[in-house]
Amino acid sequence: MKIKKITIVLMVPVIIELMIACCNCDDYPFNNYYEHHAFFSHSEMLAYSIDNSGPFSQLPLNDSVNANTYGIRIILDRQEVIPEENQQLALLRSVSLMQSAYAFSCYCPNEVFFEPADWIDSIHITTINEFDAFHPAGSEVSDYFLVLRWGDMVPLDQLPDYVINTPFDPEDKTLEINALLMNAPDPDLPENHAFNLEIYLSDGRILQTETEEITLAQ
């Protein structure tokens, strides 16, 4: 009789955990918010020159691209950030009896709701070499680029909206953006060009990269 009572008492936390764990996954993320909530952060940026002369853009076959079909492929790396609350929950599970309840749980691991921990304030493209009469070396040429977004072409200053509205995919953490050059450089200047890219993030960080020098033929 005594053993039965002890068993029942020991089973109580397991049963409670089982009830909590068996949330309705369809109602996510409003049930069990902290357990299924996560953030992502922009961690790194890479940039490559692209040749957009065909139906779809590709990396150049050599170090020369037609200036009218030149573009920059911006690759933004985004990383998961585990909130402190989740870390505490994980720690609690690792040391408590409740961990065993997972054997019966209907936890929905793929339904984690990701929110941005930081967002892009602005993006700037500057020319490293002299571009034309109005844009000496080191001056900003962001206005010369348009971004292909959801079948539309938008100025670079709309890129932050695009990035923030593109859901984070834990399976593919990179975000690829094609910024296409809409104004050819001055043909009388040397044809070698490279660009510096800077992304200013809301948390004060700056992601910076440069494209390799390439010939923009006309």
């Binding site: 957009n52 065909g54 573009g71």
Partner: protein
Amino acid sequence: MKPSADKIALPGLKILAIIILFTTGNSSAAAQPLENEYPATYIGFSYGYSIPLTTLETGEITDQLIGFRSRFDYARYFSGTKFLNERLGLNYHWQRCYAQERSGQDASFYDLLTQQYNSDYFFIAYETPEKDNNLYNRDFSQGYIGLVYRVANERFFLLPQLSLGYTTFYTTNVTLRLKEKNSNRYHTVEYKNDKYQDSYFTAAYGARAGVRVINRIHFTIECGYTWFRPDFTYTINQNDLVEGTSSSREVSYTRNLHSLSVGFGLTYEFDYNTIDN
């Protein structure tokens, strides 16, 4: 696997065989009406050809997005007539119409797009709503109900009829995404029409003449005149995504369509009533 010619012809032969068996299997049932009787019911089917007097086609590329062709064959799969008395009856018939696509004259929508854009643009995307995947199906339906008058003797009948009904067909919307060759410029072209499927009131006047070939079966020839008025407009929007400019124009398909038709078929009569003197 492609069906053989025998298999294609089989359903028609089967129907004919069933009718013949039905009409000849029972000698009393197969009998022709007596002198003081008339058949109260006719059922039949026919096949024919429609000759347009006016056409829906405008010569614009949007013609290819419409599930209708002015020139078509029709298969009147069911025609039923019930006579209320010796002379006057009600008729219902339903027919499926098969557009006559003639190679070289009726290029597909994609062929025409290629002709128009291929020299200067790349096709990036060709979007059509999922429900419109069957873009090139130009078959459509017509159904009628009407009044029939009968002039008949033992061997022949003539059934002039006035019918009202509907013509139903589909239209498709397409959005095209284009990229200029040797350029970073993109464009969209939309072919839009608010009506996806619509039925239009249709009036028809015609006559069916039959000659008795075996017991209750008549071979029939028919001719008719049909009118209906489609009412829809395609809007073609062209957007330059770089400049942010757009232009649009409309192609109207609101017009009176008149056509003539001729056909032949078989009619089976039954349900004999006594003629009131």
